[in-house]
Symmetry: D2
Subunit: 284 residues, 4 copies
C-alpha cells in the first residue's frame, strides 16, 4: 500500500485556481494519483479532491500547512489534508437489530474499510458476542427517557477516551440530542430505512407497506439537528410487489441498509465526501 | 390474435372458492390461458384474474352473467368480464410537455397498447401537429382559474361523445376538480415526476435537486380526490449525482415518466390491475 | 409459525386440471394460503405451487400420496409434497473467499433461511473460526488434481452421514466431477460471479474489466454437467465505470454474490423453484 | 447558450501535466466550466476533458493550435479541440424496426441532442413518413448479398455529400464491411440488444429466452472490425421472469435500446467519450 496524502478544497470558483494548486503540487514534486473537481455555477463554488503519492513529495506533512497557506488565503479556501497513515477512528452505535453492525465488522476485518473501530456502544447487551468475535470493545449504555442526558455524557466520555473521529448509527434506535449533534458536526452517519424524503421518522417500512409503494429504499446521511434532514450520502432501492408482505419489505430492506450504510462509511473514511448547501459531493 | 375473455374477481377469501371458479370454467369448456391469484391474509381477501380462449367456450358472452351469478353471489364476489374484442377507449390529456404523449402515440401505433385512442384534449394548441401525424382528433380546451367549471363541462361532453373509458394525464398541468375525479373513479391515470410519497405536489424535480437526493423517480397512479395520494400502479427510479444539474434531472426524469406511465396504461388496458385498500395488485 | 404443506406440480396442460386439484383440496378441507401457477403454451406445460395450512386439513401427510395418486395419474403429473416441519438439510462448500459463507450463516441464524445447516466442507482450514462461532461442524477435505476422486468419496460420506438435501457452493473454487453432479441432480446451487452467459468459466471479473463493461453481475444456478450452463435461478448487476479498477469490481461484486446466492438458497428451501427445459420458474 | 470550447487530451501520465494545461488556460484567461480527468496507473495514461467559456478567452479558435502545440509536443498529447458552435453532423442508418429512429428524432427535435441530423439512410422505405414529419432527407439504399459493395459506395457518396461526422446504427440490420468500418474509425455507434459480451451476434432475445436469463440488456458500442467487440459506451438491463414470453423480452428490450443508444449518442456529440485499450471513459 502506497502512503498518500489527500487534499480536500472548498472555495469560491475563480480563474487561476486549478493552475495555482497544480503548480504548487508540481513544484513540490507530487506524483498525483487521482484528482477530481466539481464546479457549481449557481453557487459559484469550486470543490476539489486530489490524492498524491507521498514518496518523493518535497514537503513533510508538518511543513504543508505553512507552504500552502498563502494559496489557501488568496483563494479563500477551506481545506483539509488527510494522510493515509492516519486512519480515522470509528465508533458504531447499535441497538438490537444487528445486521448493519455485523456487516460493517465483516467489511472492516476483510480490509474494505480503511479505518480503526475501537468502540461499539449499544443500549442493549445483545450484540456483545459478535463484538467479542471481532475483538472490539463493547460498551452498554442504557438510554431511557429519564437518563438521556446522563447517558450521552457517558457516551461522550467513551468517545473522547477512544479518540473517535466518526460515529456510525447502525440502526441505533435512539434520537441524538441537539447537543450531541452539535458536538460532532458532519461526523455522525445514520442509515434511514426509506428513500428520503419519503417516510421521514418512525416505522418507514410499515408506512411504505400501507401506502402500497412499488419500491422501498434506504438512505445514509449525515445527522443534523432536524431529524432525517441531513445531507444525503447514498440511497438505493429494491422493487417490491403485492406479493411482498410487511416482513418481506423488512427483509429486503435489510440488504439495502447494509449496502447503503457501508458505502457511506467507506466514502467518508476515504475522504471522498465534500459538503455544501446540505448536499454531498461524492468523489468516487 | 386469439379472442379471449378475462374475468376479474375480488371477494372475501373462503374455502372452495377456487374449486367453484375452476369447476365453472371447466364445465363450460374454457381453455385457460393465464390464471393469477392473490390472497391477503390480513384483509381476508381473494383476488383473481383468469383469461381463457373464447374458441370452444360453451357460453356466449351475453349468457355469462346469468350463468356465473349464482357462484358470484355465493362467494360475495365483485367481478368483471372483459372481452379482448372490446378495446377500451382512451383519452389523453396533455399540456405543453409532449414527451409522454409522443411516447404513448408511438406505442399505440406499434401495437403495444391494446386500446383505441379516439381523443386528445389539451389546454394548449402546441401538440396538434403530432396528433395529426397519428390521425387522432385533437381538441383544445383552455383552462383558466375563472373558467374551470365550464372547461370541465366541455371536457365531459367530449369524453361522453367519444365514449371514453380511461383518461390518461400525460403531464397535464391542471388539477382535476373533485367532481371530475368522482365521475371517473379508477379511470384516470396520472404520471407524477417523483417517487411518491416523496415530493407530493408541484415542482418535484426542483425540490429533489435542492434536497440533494441520489435517486430521482416517477410514479403512475390512479387519481383520487387527494392530490398524489391515489393507488400507486408503478414506480421507477434513476440514479443521479452531484454532476447532475436541475436540467439533467428533468431530462433523465423524462425517460422515467414515459416508461412508468406507459406500463400503467398497458396494464390497465390489459385488465391486469386490481384495487383494494388504496393499493394495486398487478397481475403481469 | 403455521404448519403448512406445499404441493409442487409439473404436467402437460389440460382442461380440468385446476378444477381437479382445487376440488381435491376443497374436499379435504384445505385452507389455501398461497397458490401460483404458470402455463407455457409453447411447451404445453402446466406448473403449480400451492401451499395450505395443515390445521384442519382432512388428510394425514402419510395418506396424501394414496389419495392424490389417482388425480396425479390422470393428468400425468410429476409432483412433490413438502411439509414445513421437515426442514431441508444444507451443506455449504467453501474455499478461502468467505463472504458468501459468512452471509449465509448470518441469514440462517437470523431466521431468514428455513433450513438446517449441519455441515460445512472446505478445501482450506481458513473459515473454521466462523463455523465455530455459529456452532456448525466444519470438515476440511483437501482437493488436489491427484486425489480428486478420493476427496469426493470423502465428501459423499460426509453428505450421507449428515443426510444432506442441498449443497451450496459458496465460492467453492473446485469443479465438481460429473459423478458428483449426477449424484445430486438439481440439488447443487452455485454462485458464478458474472451475469451468465457472459464470462463463463474462470476469472470473470478480470475479463469484465478487460472488456470494459459498464455493468458487472452475479448469477446463481443449479449445477449441471456443463460448466456454468445449468438453469439460472437469479441474477443481478451493479453499475461500474472507468473509475472502477479491478479491485473495485471484485469488491462491488462481493455484495452482488451474497445477495444473489442467498435469494436462490431461500427460494429453494421454501420450495419456490420449479424446473423445465433448463429454465427455472420462481414462485416468489 | 454559452459558446464554449472543449479540449480532449490523451497522453502518457507525467508530473507537471495538469499544471501546464491549467497554466496555459489561465494565461489565456479561460473561464473553466467543467474539468474532468482520469488516470490509469496500469497503463500510465492520462485523459482529460476541459470545457471553458469562449467569452473573454484570449485566443481565437484558429490561434489555439499554434499556441497549444508546444505543450502538446512536450507531453506527447493526442488532443482535439471542439467548439460548441460546430455541431457534429449525424447520419442515422435504419432498417424496419423504427423505435430507435423515432426516439432519436424526437430527442433531437426537443433539444436533447446537440447535433445536426441531415441524413437518414435505410435499406427499406418503411420509415420515410417519420423522416418527413421531422423534415430530414431520407435515402433508400437497398442492400443485398450481391450489391453490398455498390450499396456501400452509394452510402459513402451520401455521407460525403452531407459531410457526416458520426453514423448511428439505429437497429440497422446489415453488417458493415471492413472497408466501411475502416473509413469511419470511432465514428460508428451501434446498439446491440443484449448485455455484451453475452449473446454476441444474431437473435440475442431469442437466445436469452432459451437460456432462461433473469435479466435482459442492451449495449451501445463503437463499431470495429470484429462484430460486437468494439468499445462499450453504455449498457443497461431490465429484469424479466418466467412470466415473460419472447415477445415480452422484445418489447421490454425496445425501451432499453432507445435509452442506451440515445445516451451514447448524446455523450459522443457532447465530446464526453475518450477511448483507450478498447475501453471508453465517459466524462458525464
Amino acid at each position: 500500500m502506497k502512503k498518500t496524502a489527500t487534499l480536500l478544497i472548498n472555495c469560491p470558483d475563480r480563474k487561476g485556481l486549478v493552475a495555482a494548486i497544480a503548480d504548487f503540487l508540481y513544484r513540490h514534486n507530487a506524483n498525483i494519483l487521482h484528482a477530481d473537481q466539481h464546479q457549481d455555477a449557481a453557487e459559484n463554488l469550486f470543490l476539489m479532491r486530489v490524492e498524491w503519492d507521498l514518496e518523493g513529495f518535497g514537503l513533510q506533512p508538518e511543513e504543508f500547512e505553512r507552504e500552502f497557506t498563502p494559496i489557501a488565503q488568496q483563494f479563500q479556501m477551506q481545506w483539509q489534508l488527510k494522510l493515509s497513515g492516519q486512519k480515522p477512528r470509528l465508533a458504531i452505535f447499535v441497538s438490537k437489530y444487528d445486521h448493519c453492525l455485523v456487516d460493517l465488522l465483516y467489511r472492516h476485518q476483510s480490509g474494505e474499510l480503511a479505518c480503526d473501530i475501537p468502540l461499539i456502544i449499544s443500549n442493549h447487551p445483545d450484540t456483545q458476542r459478535i463484538a467479542d468475535f471481532y475483538g472490539i470493545p463493547f460498551e452498554v449504555v442504557e438510554v431511557t427517557k429519564e437518563n438521556k442526558a446522563e447517558a450521552e455524557s457517558r457516551q461522550f466520555a467513551l468517545l473522547d477516551e477512544h479518540k473517535i473521529d466518526l460515529i456510525v448509527l447502525a440502526r441505533y434506535m435512539q434520537v441524538l440530542s441537539p447537543e450531541f449533534v452539535k458536538r460532532y458536526p458532519q461526523r455522525v452517519i445514520n442509515i434511514h430505512h426509506s428513500f428520503l424524503p419519503a417516510f421521514v421518522g418512525a416505522r418507514p417500512y410499515h408506512r411504505a407497506f400501507e401506502r402500497g409503494v412499488k419500491l422501498i429504499g434506504a438512505t445514509s446521511h449525515y445527522v443534523t439537528e432536524v431529524l432525517d434532514e441531513g445531507p444525503i450520502i447514498e440511497q438505493d432501492i429494491v422493487r417490491v410487489s403485492h406479493r411482498d408482505q410487511l416482513e418481506d419489505l423488512i427483509q429486503k430492506g435489510r440488504d439495502l441498509e447494509k449496502v447503503v450504510l457501508s458505502r457511506a462509511v467507506r466514502w467518508h473514511v476515504e475522504n471522498r465526501i465534500l459538503l455544501y448547501s446540505n448536499k454531498t459531493v461524492i468523489f468516487d
